[in-house]
Amino acid sequence: MKEEEKLKVPGYEYFKEASTASQAACFVLGFDEVDCLDDIGGQQFLVDEVLPKEYAKPFSHINLYTVDSLLRPVNKELGMVVAEVLRDWNMLAAESFVERAERGKKICYNYFTQSPEVILALDMVPMCVEVIGAIDALLYDADTCSASVDRFEAEGYPDFLCSGQKVALGMHLLGKVPCPDAFLKQPSICDPSNAQYDWWAEKCKVPHILFEAPYYANERAFRFFLSEYKRHIKELEELSGNKLDEGKLREYVKLGNEALSYHLKTQVLKAAVPCPDTGWHAIIDSAALTMLGQPYALDFFKANYEIVKGRVDRGEGVIPEGKEELRCYWGWGFNGYDLHFMDWLEDEYGATWTGCSLSYIPKFVGLVDTTNMDTMIESLAWRMFNWPMSRQGMSFSELWVNDTLSAARELKADCLMMGTHRSCRHFWALNKILSDRVTDELDIPSLRFEFDLFEHRFTPDSELKKITGDFLSSLNYSKLHKKREARYK
């Protein structure tokens, strides 16, 4: 297909442009000795004078928090990888819509707790709805993402629904993102996403293929989950018209395993003092976990592992020299529009990010057993059963609280950050239980605060900084360090 024909294919233009915007970011990152946009005359100058024409247009709408974060010296190496991953992922997304138009290749919009290997092995394209929304929030400026949100809310829907889906839905209504061939969802985890996926599937009149995760975290529940996953795979086979092939699945699973093993190794390294990892990519970690089985996840997790490993070997941290460290564990996750905020925490307060509940993988999850088809399906199910959010969505608060406490302990946290998305009904009903247990059992301070996953208007950067800044300046770091040392003796 020629380029002008491609541009008529729904979905192509948006993702192509997102890819070009990411390529423009790569271009800017290629300048040596440049730490922030101001060094090269600011955004306007870049757009007018420096960037090649085809890069300049999308770059004029780019999210400056993201670019500044990518350019920060300590972030830059991984920043380049992230920009490239964004470029390639978006390009593949754009081309997938063309492939669909040309030869009917199926595209599935899936929930972020679903590991995509089976979808890939069936020769379909997995695209995570929440990652689509993140592209709008992360890559583009506030007006772009707000327009998506406003478009969905203009249909009469309330603002408290989860922007994880709301943004993608708005993008759809704005004509940026077309209907998929199916929606895939674990409907047990969260109501806002259930309702919004269902709305979208209903509107597109395409199959909504579910697999139920039960409420309990026990053997009987897992057996049920597995049976549901197998049923789900059958439906996927019908949708794709292909039979799941063991060899093909193994290839994707191996690629996913490799990527995840790097993430797991990095997780262990993050217990080092001072913390060897930066916090700006918290949301990228969560996004990359939806891309297991694709090269993007591997590129990203591997690059980050090598960078972190290098710092550990050299005994380096990521905060400015002479700053005292305050190790934070995040009880939920972080937002997707303000990467720079984590840089600010590190630079101003030495507050490092040791991990968060939306990207932390418990050790017992392990890798997928590639022996045969059955072991692969069973261990993929086991992975998803215990995936971030899948697991937290289960049972009473015990699971969430205990997992958080043990991760915070393992990562030697001095402080629990409980900044949470406003639409997470689960978290807001257990945040007090969690903060009480943290006080009682770890004896570390915690801070509860609100934000919206992708909506900068809900709590602007300035507001986030004020809340956390007030809290952090009230803490006595050396006292907390002594406590920590006593704990790990």
Partner: protein, 382 residues
């Protein structure tokens, strides 16, 4: 129990949770009361085990200060109100709670009720229900019902529940459903003899007393209603729907502005009593599971929008409504998506519909509600 003031009056004065003579009598007889919240909990199982199922409600709860310590303002005010009542001791009379993962907020409320509000050890059971209607999901739900039945019985040391006892319970509860159905049929008339608020109160009473007594009282009350003067002079026939509502004052507000509420799609209304349990030989548990699993679905069930819309339309046409008011509680995600969608589809069919955002306790906002309801009725009148 003899009722001197007349069955209708007795039922209209819904037994107060603090001073409910029916619950007191039950306890005096040495029997247990089990609370539950969601329509997907089969009351018959609790009844057949010899206990009184009591649906938690939060009428008259005007503030949630204590509950807000444990749940955030981003949780809906209905669940926070229930928790508030638990924390302030209003539910101390319960001997157990049957949990069910109806929606995220509801199920998070249970553990707080159990861990923070309960002042004595009580039975806590959990029924985990899947989110879609399919065979594999149904099998799981049925298993859950067997488990809960056994769990409840053994905790209280009750004897094994026989199939016959379960069938008796089914017949008793089906009788209530049929009687409430008759009550709703009366409301379809051009000039019904009962207001929407009163009909709602009569329905609600079912949750708070022995069904043998309730059925008897309701039967008598239906007779009394037929002797009443018809309601006249109303300006519009209204149907209501949306987020959980157990408080008649919302209907009173609509009726105070000239509307007459003639039917609803509420989980405390039609979705509670529609669909009978099939009374035929065989396994009563299977019959119960079928009825409760497949009954008119709440928006928590995924992929059932079409059926919900059909149900809504049928009810609206059947009761000849002029307009539909769909309430949408703040932070109720499920109805937050469902209500505006249903409203839009109703409008397309030519049935005026309005989505009304409200908190569980609406006192501070009454004036604004009145204006909106009134304008809606003015719009219907043209």
């Amino acid at each position: 129990m003899s009722v001197q003031k007349g069955a209708l009056k007795e039922l209209l004065e819904i037994p107060d949770r603090r001073d409910n003579p029916y619950v007191k009598k039950w306890h005096t007889d040495g029997k247990y009361v089990i609370g539950y919240m969601c329509n997907y909990v089969p009351e018959e199982i609790i009844w057949a085990t010899g206990m009184l199922p009591y649906r938690l409600e939060a009428r008259d709860c005007a503030q949630t200060d204590e509950a807000d310590v444990w749940m955030h303002r981003f949780n809906c005010s209905y669940t926070r109100s229930i928790l508030q009542l638990g924390l302030t001791g209003e539910y101390d009379f319960l001997d157990g709670i049957c949990f069910l993962n109806g929606c995220d907020q509801m199920r998070r409320t249970y553990e707080l009720l159990a861990s923070k509000a309960a002042k004595k050890p009580m039975w806590q059971g959990m029924i985990a229900i899947p989110h879609y209607l399919g065979d594999n999901a149904f099998k799981w739900y049925k298993e859950e019902l067997y488990n809960i039945k056994e769990d409840l019985r053994s905790y209280f040391g009750a004897k094994k529940v026989t199939d016959e006892e379960l069938w008796d319970a089914i017949i008793l509860y089906n009788k209530s459903r049929k009687l409430i159905g008759k009550l709703y049929d009366l409301r379809k008339e051009e000039n019904p003899r009962i207001s929407g608020a009163d009909a709602f109160k009569l329905t609600l009473a079912a949750f708070y007393m022995d069904r043998n007594i309730y059925n008897k009282l309701l039967e008598e009350a239906l007779g009394e209603i037929e002797k009443r003067e018809p309601v006249s002079g109303y300006r519009a026939r209204i149907m209501i729907g949306g987020s959980a509502l157990d408080d008649p004052s919302f209907i009173e507000l609509i009726e105070g502005r000239g509307g007459l509420v003639v039917t609803d799609t509420m989980c405390f209304g039609t979705r509670f009593f529609f669909d009978l349990v099939e009374e035929k030989d065989g396994d009563p548990m299977e019959a119960l599971a079928k009825r409760y699993f497949y009954h008119n679905p709440c928006p928590r069930m995924v992929k059932e929008y079409g059926r919900r819309m059909e149900f809504t339309e049928d009810l609206a046409r059947g009761a000849k409504v002029d307009g539909v008011i769909l309430e949408r509680m703040s932070f109720c995600d499920l109805h937050g998506v469902d209500s505006p969608t249903i409203a839009k589809d109703l409008e397309t069919m030519g049935i005026p519909a309005m989505v009304l955002e409200k908190e569980y306790y609406m006192l501070p906002d009454v004036g604004r509600f009145q204006t909106r309801v009134e304008a809606f009725i003015e719009r219907i009148e043209g």
